[in-house]
Subunit: 376 residues, 2 copies
C-alpha cells in the first residue's frame, strides 16, 4: 500500500502559499507516496491543478483526509480539518504552539503525530528542512522592495541632465537570514547600506554584503543562534549609538523576531520623531508586535512625515518561491522517515525528536507540556 | 521690484509632486525672485513649510496669485486658478493641450503667456529643461520595482540550503528613457534582462546595461533614417519572435507612449494567454490607453494567472525626487528669460519659441491653433 499524503488547502486570510509544488510532488511520488490535494489549492501560488502531474485532485476535505497517513500544510490546520484526520496520522506544518494551546491539545487528544516546522533545530544537518530560514530569506528580500516602493525617493545614485541624485541610506537592524537578504537587496538597488545586530559575529557577514556595520560594543549572543534578552543598561547604550544611524537613514528595516515572544522594541517613538522627513520603516517583526513602538501589525501608518510599515506574513507575498522552498523543506524532513515506501519514525534522530510536538497522545517537548498543563 | 513667483498647490487626485523644492527656491531667490506658496503645498512631497527658507507662505489662492508675474505648477492649472491670474502673467506647467482644449483657449483669452513643459524640444541645449525625460527616468525605475513587488517570485538567483532559485526574466518593450531605466533597475535586482525596440540604434544602449536585445532578424531601416514599409512576411516574423520573448518573461514592462496619441498596442490578448503562469505586465503607457490590449488605466487586473498593472502618474509615486528634478527643469527654463532680476522673453530662442503655447491672446503653435479652430 503506498503512503497516502494529503496536502491541505490553506484557509487563513492572506495566506497564498501551498505546501506542495509540482517538482516536489514528483519526488514524493517516487518515494512511494500517493499525493492528494483539494482542487484549486495551489491557485493562490499561481499553480493551477494542471501544473501538477503526480497529484490526485479531490473536491472535499472528507475525501482528502479520510485515509491520509501524512498531512502537509503551511499554517496550523483548523479544528475542523483536525477532526477529519484519522487517529495516528502524521501532520507537518507550522503549529506555533505558544499561540495555539487549544490546537496543540486537540492534536494530542486526536492522537496525531505532529511535527512543528518552527521547531526544526538550527543544526547543520537540518538546514535543508529549516523553513523559518527559507521563508525569512524571501521576507528580507521583499522588505527591501517594500521600503523602496514606499519611499518617495529612488535608492541608486542617478546622474541626470539636471544633476546627480545621491544614493539613499538603508539601515537594517537584526542581521539574521532576513536581515542579510534585506541588506543584499538594498545594496543591489544602489543604496548605501548599514547593518546592525547585537551579535558581533554578524559584522563580517554584513561587511561581506558591502554594508557598514554599526558597532555598539554590546555582545548579546544567546542560545540556539538567537539573541538573548538585553538588560535596560545595554538597551540604553545601544540606543544612543543606534539613534544616530536611524536618524540618518532613508529606510530602516527591522527584523528582530524571537519565536514565541514579543518582538523587542528597537525603535522608540522618540527615535522616530528625529528621523529624516519622508523616511520609511519596514518592520518585519510585526507578527510579534513589531520592533518599532509605533508599529501597527498589518498596517502602514504615517507618523508626521515618516511611514511605518508593519506587514504580516511577508513570505506569502512571494507565494510561488515561498511555496517552492517550503515544499522542499517538507520533502527533506519527510525523507528522514519515509523509507522504502514505509513510514519509519526513528526517535533517536535529533531532528525528528526536536521537531515533534505531539505523539501517541502526549505533548513531547517538556517545556510545552508543562506550560500547557499549568494553563489548564 | 523683484519678480513675483507663485507656486500652485497641485489639486489633481494622486498628484503628490510640487513644482518647487527648497534648493531651487534658494537659487530662484538669488535670481531676484520673490517666491510664494500656499502653506502645506509641499507636504505630499514630504516637504513641510519649514523645509523651505526662501519662500513666503500664504493661506489663500487669491493672495498667492493676485500679483504673480510667473506661476509654476506640475499639472495644468484649474480654471478657477487661471481666473485669479493677472493678465500677462507667465505660466509654466504641463498643459497637455491635446486633452485640454478648453484650458488652452482660456489661457489664450486671459492673455497668459503659457509654456507647456511637454513641448520642450528634444535638443541638446534643452536637456536640462526636459521634464518628460526627467520624470520618465523615475517612472522606469519605479516600474521595475512595481514588477518585482507584484511578482510572487524573486528576481535574483538565490542559493539556499534547499537548492538554487533561478533568476527571473524581465523583458522591456520600448527603450526610451523610461525603458532603459527599467532595464537597469531590473538588472540591478538580479533579473535576466531583455530589451526590445523597433529602433535598431537602441540595441547598443540596451546591451550597455547588461540586457540582451531582442533581434527579430528584420531590418526596418529605410531611406533617410525612417522605417520602411514592411512586408506581411516580415511583420509575421517580428510578431513570432516578440511573442516568444513575451511568453518566456516573468515581468514585461512596456513604455511605448506617444504624447498626444493613443499608445500603440504592443501586447495582444492572444499573447497574454500564452504567458507564463504568474507573470506580470507593467504598462507604463496607461495615460494613452496602455500598450497591452487588456490594460485598464489606473488599475491592476488579473487575466487568468497573469497580472496586468497599468498605473497612472508613476512619477508622483516618487514625489520627492520627481519634484526635485522637475523644479530643476523649471529653474533651467526660467534662467532663459529671468535675467538681471527682469523678465526678458527672447523669441529668437528656439527653446522658448517651441515651448510657448499661448502669448498675447494667441495660440502660438500653428498645428494647435488649426486644430482648436477646427474644433470650434
Amino acid at each position: 500500500m503506498p503512503i497516502q499524503v494529503a496536502v491541505l488547502q490553506e484557509s487563513r486570510p492572506q495566506e497564498k502559499r501551498v505546501a506542495m509544488v509540482p517538482a516536489v510532488a514528483d519526488k514524493l511520488s517516487k518515494l512511494g507516496c500517493n499525493i492528494s490535494m483539494l482542487s484549486g489549492a495551489g491557485l493562490a501560488s499561481k499553480l493551477p491543478d494542471s501544473a501538477y502531474s503526480n497529484v490526485n485532485f479531490v473536491t472535499s476535505a472528507e475525501q482528502l483526509l479520510a485515509d491520509a497517513d501524512i498531512v502537509l500544510a503551511v499554517q496550523p490546520p483548523t479544528t475542523s480539518q483536525i477532526a477529519l484526520l484519522k487517529p495516528g496520522a502524521i501532520l507537518i506544518s507550522f503549529v506555533y504552539q505558544h499561540k495555539e494551546a487549544d490546537l496543540t491539545r486537540l492534536l494530542c487528544d486526536k492522537n496525531i503525530t505532529s511535527f512543528a516546522m518552527e521547531q526544526v533545530p538550527r543544526i547543520s544537518r537540518a538546514q535543508a528542512m529549516d523553513a523559518l530560514s527559507s521563508q525569512a530569506a524571501l521576507a528580507g528580500y521583499y522588505a527591501a522592495l517594500l521600503g523602496a516602493t514606499q519611499l518617495a525617493r529612488i535608492l541608486p545614485m542617478m546622474t541626470t541632465a539636471v544633476g546627480s541624485i545621491r544614493p539613499a541610506r538603508c539601515l537594517v537592524m537584526g542581521l539574521g537570514v532576513a536581515g542579510l537578504q534585506a541588506l543584499a537587496t538594498a545594496r543591489r538597488l544602489g543604496a548605501i547600506t548599514e547593518g546592525y545586530d547585537v551579535r558581533p559575529e554578524t559584522k563580517e557577514q554584513a561587511e561581506s554584503l558591502g554594508a557598514k556595520f554599526v558597532d555598539t560594543g554590546v555582545d548579546a549572543r544567546g542560545e540556539g543562534g538567537y539573541a538573548r534578552e538585553l538588560t535596560q543598561d545595554e538597551k540604553d547604550k545601544i540606543a544612543s549609538v543606534v539613534t544616530q544611524h536611524i536618524q540618518q537613514a532613508d529606510i530602516v528595516i527591522t527584523t528582530a523576531a524571537i519565536p514565541g515572544r514579543p518582538s523587542p522594541k528597537l525603535i522608540s517613538k522618540a527615535q522616530v520623531e528625529g528621523m529624516k522627513l519622508g523616511a520609511v520603516i519596514i518592520d518585519l517583526a510585526a507578527e510579534g508586535g513589531g520592533n518599532c513602538e509605533y508599529s501597527v501589525p498589518g498596517e502602514t501608518i504615517q507618523q508626521g512625515q515618516i511611514s511605518i510599515v508593519a506587514p504580516l506574513n511577508v513570505p506569502s507575498m512571494l507565494a510561488e518561491h515561498a511555496s517552492e522552498l517550503y515544499a522542499k523543506n517538507l520533502l527533506n524532513l519527510l525523507q528522514l522517515f519515509v523509507i522504502d515506501g514505509e513510514i519509519k519514525l526513528d526517535w533517536q534522530d535529533e531532528v525528528l525528536a526536536k521537531t515533534v510536538l505531539t505523539h501517541q497522545g502526549e505533548i513531547k517537548p517538556a517545556a510545552v507540556k508543562a506550560a500547557l498543563t499549568q494553563q489548564q
